[in-house]
């Protein structure tokens, strides 16, 4: 039931691009992306909804393939501040009575100068 994220870890140089993937075995209402820095609160980045709507930060881009239950987060021209652990949280279809998010195991991103 837990979504699978890939890769588990990635190291970039400033200015390089990265893609983080999130794959679920269940049909989804939505995918939520968060970034967490060590010792801090997970920060909301984006929601991708069934039907194509998106909400989130302008500088973040992501996609949601409803047929494949897959989402990808695109980090372009990476900055040092992008470092952290990225989590996807999913809302499976049939979970309308609960706000529960089911999270992937996280992807650690390190951006070096």
């Amino acid at each position: 039931q837990q979504p699978v994220q890939s890769p588990q870890a990635v190291i970039l140089r400033e200015g390089e691009d990265a893609v983080i993937n999130c794959s679920s075995s269940k049909a989804l209402y939505s995918v939520h992306w968060y970034r967490q820095k060590h010792g801090e609160a997970p920060v909301f980045l984006m929601i991708l909804l069934k039907g194509g709507e998106q909400k989130g930060h302008e500088k973040i881009s992501a996609s949601f393939n409803e047929k494949k239950q897959q989402s990808s987060l695109y980090l372009t021209a990476s900055q040092l501040s992008y470092s952290g652990t990225y989590f996807c949280g999913v809302r499976p279809v049939g979970s309308s009575n609960t706000g529960k998010l089911i999270f992937g195991q996280g992807t650690t991103l390190q951006v070096k100068p």
């Binding site: 801090e40 706000g99 529960k100 998010l101 195991q105």
Partner: protein, 115 residues
């Protein structure tokens, strides 16, 4: 606008003791969630309040955990008696609505260490 706040930020207790964690959601957010992250693993859902009512407590590990949200404002999560496997970071989150289109805002977490 103030974010989600949690208290304490750290707690170290011995096995068998009791600990109470507190969460203050964003003002006006009826939905409040508790999650837990055990070291190196994913963030796992514990329960969901809508105002003062428990909407979903399917993630609560056992009856040693008791969550309350009296008055529909702040919430407490009590662990009694604590066991070693309860160690981890406990996050609280809040949202305006509970449907899939509402973002959840997380607090900084309480790091609980049971020795």
């Amino acid at each position: 606008e103030a974010g989600v706040t949690q208290f304490p930020s750290h707690s170290v207790i011995e096995k068998g003791q009791t600990v109470t964690l507190r969460c203050d959601p964003i003002s006006g957010h009826d939905n409040l969630y508790w999650y837990r992250r055990v070291m190196g693993k994913e963030i796992k859902f514990l329960l969901h309040f809508v105002k003062e009512s428990k909407q979903d407590e399917s993630g609560m590990p056992n009856n040693r955990f008791l969550a309350e949200r009296t008055g529909g404002t702040y919430s407490t999560l009590k662990v009694q008696p604590a066991e070693l496997e309860d160690s981890g970071v406990y996050f609280c989150a809040s949202s305006q609505g509970r449907t899939a289109s509402y973002e959840q805002y997380f607090g900084p977490g309480t790091r609980l260490t049971v020795t």
